[in-house]
Symmetry: C2
Subunit: 273 residues, 2 copies
């Protein structure tokens, strides 16, 4: 029980107070609050099917603003009024929910072209924090909803995204409900590797900006178990380590075997609305 660090909770609460969007990444023409028109927001790269026209992109860009976050800064807070969507341009974020006693479940990690703020009602259903320095495109929720009417293709895209996330969530449920520690870690590493390849990057090296504790909170384990299982994989020759945040996959088939993916090619999914 009581698996995750209370200090996450405390740390978060503190940050909530000093949540000022200080940004460091060099960026032209930014206003006092670190915002600028979203010059090159990657709407067109959203990991969904279909394509938006240039006109559509221009319309999207017109309502979006660029924003940057430092490591550990919070993009959105669970429970707060859901006023904005984000699309990740650069960097990695974690998305999580907390139980009242501080236990944490990280429901996913967000990479460029992923969307933040979807599964939300009037209020955000989860918290999202930067794992690395990030740049995101920000869209006022109200304006996006207006756009749905005049740009139906946008709604279809959101359908696709939500549908894909749903499929991923279901895979994660299988992982959390029915896999053991080794299978969980193997699944996770393979997923990171395949997402990297989907982004067009080559090689068997994955860098994991997340800490062992964050991996643990994603896989329903503890830091110690994650660490032990990583060591075990290393000794078996499945992986090689270059510091705790750089993992080289040496024996992908062995991991795939362990991961027990239904689909031999594994995830992720791509919907087709």
């Amino acid at each position: 029980m009581k698996a995750s660090t209370d200090q996450v909770l405390k740390q978060s609460r503190v940050q909530r107070l000093e949540q000022t969007p200080t940004s460091e990444l060099p960026r032209p023409s930014r206003n006092a609050r670190g915002e600028s028109p979203c010059a090159a927001c990657p709407v067109r790269d959203m990991n969904v099917c279909g394509a938006l026209t240039d006109t559509d992109l221009a319309t999207m860009n017109a309502i979006s603003t660029d924003k940057t976050f430092e490591r550990d800064q919070t993009l959105i807070w669970e429970g707060e009024a859901a006023g904005e969507f984000f699309i990740v341009s650069e960097g990695v974020a974690k998305v999580f929910k907390l139980l009242p006693d501080g236990r944490r479940q990280i429901t996913g990690f967000l990479y460029p072209s992923d969307i933040v703020g979807l599964a939300s009602n009037e209020r955000y259903a989860y918290t999202a924090q930067a794992l690395t320095p990030m740049r995101v495109c920000r869209f006022p929720r109200s304006k996006v909803l207006e756009l749905f009417d005049e740009m139906p293709v946008l709604c279809r895209k959101v359908c696709c995204v939500a549908s894909n996330e749903l499929a991923a969530a279901q895979d994660q449920m299988v992982l959390l409900g029915r896999k053991n520690a080794a299978e969980r870690l193997a699944s996770f590493l393979l997923l990171l590797l395949r997402r990297k390849h989907l982004r067009g990057e080559e090689g068997q090296a994955i860098d994991t900006p997340m800490t062992r504790a964050e991996i643990a909170d994603h896989l329903g384990l503890t830091t110690e178990t994650v660490s032990r299982t990583v060591t075990q994989f290393r000794k078996l020759g499945h992986i090689e380590l270059d510091g705790p945040h750089h993992i080289l996959v040496r024996d992908e088939p062995a991991l795939a075997d362990l991961a027990a993916f239904d689909d031999p090619d594994g995830l992720p999914h791509t919907a087709s609305f």
Copy 2:
């Protein structure tokens, strides 16, 4: 490990062969394959925001057919070509994914007005089987996608549904990743109770058409643990049993305490696109 019954797998494989839509529920004007125009399909009741006009409903009805399933019959198979959506009119279904060795994770249970076939690519991402006799509305996927263009509100509805399901999936991840057996069962019972109330039904009695094994496969536990925990709740006076499939919630606050819902009112969510 190896938590779920292999016989589920075997049983399923067998059924796959004799999948004939025999239907028993009385229903007018049905063709040879047990189909009939979906006279009263509950599109308007889809558990989503917004409302369709009468014209929209007529259009939807025009492309839908009514279909019935017996207990244990399969609506859709994971991996098969995804040609149809369904909306549940009557009855309850389970939705699950299998690991190669037969372990099963039930990702959810479907009640009237829930949608089947959403989180799918060209192929269904999961299997859905009837827990009780069911009646569903069936929509050809291709026609629905066409309708998206001429009836944008439909796409928004699907967005809502997907978004709600995503939120529910994230709650389930918290449950599977970070809650113990008692907390899982309490969460589950409360969810059933609250969904019942959302459907407009009164009272603290929930009937659970699912077996202990199915509950276990939904909560990431075993039948034995589910049974033990139910007994424990009964002895504590939190619930009362009238046969294994009728549970009376006596002390809802106690269960809510155990469940560790973030939101005191608990789930489910309703999105607002």
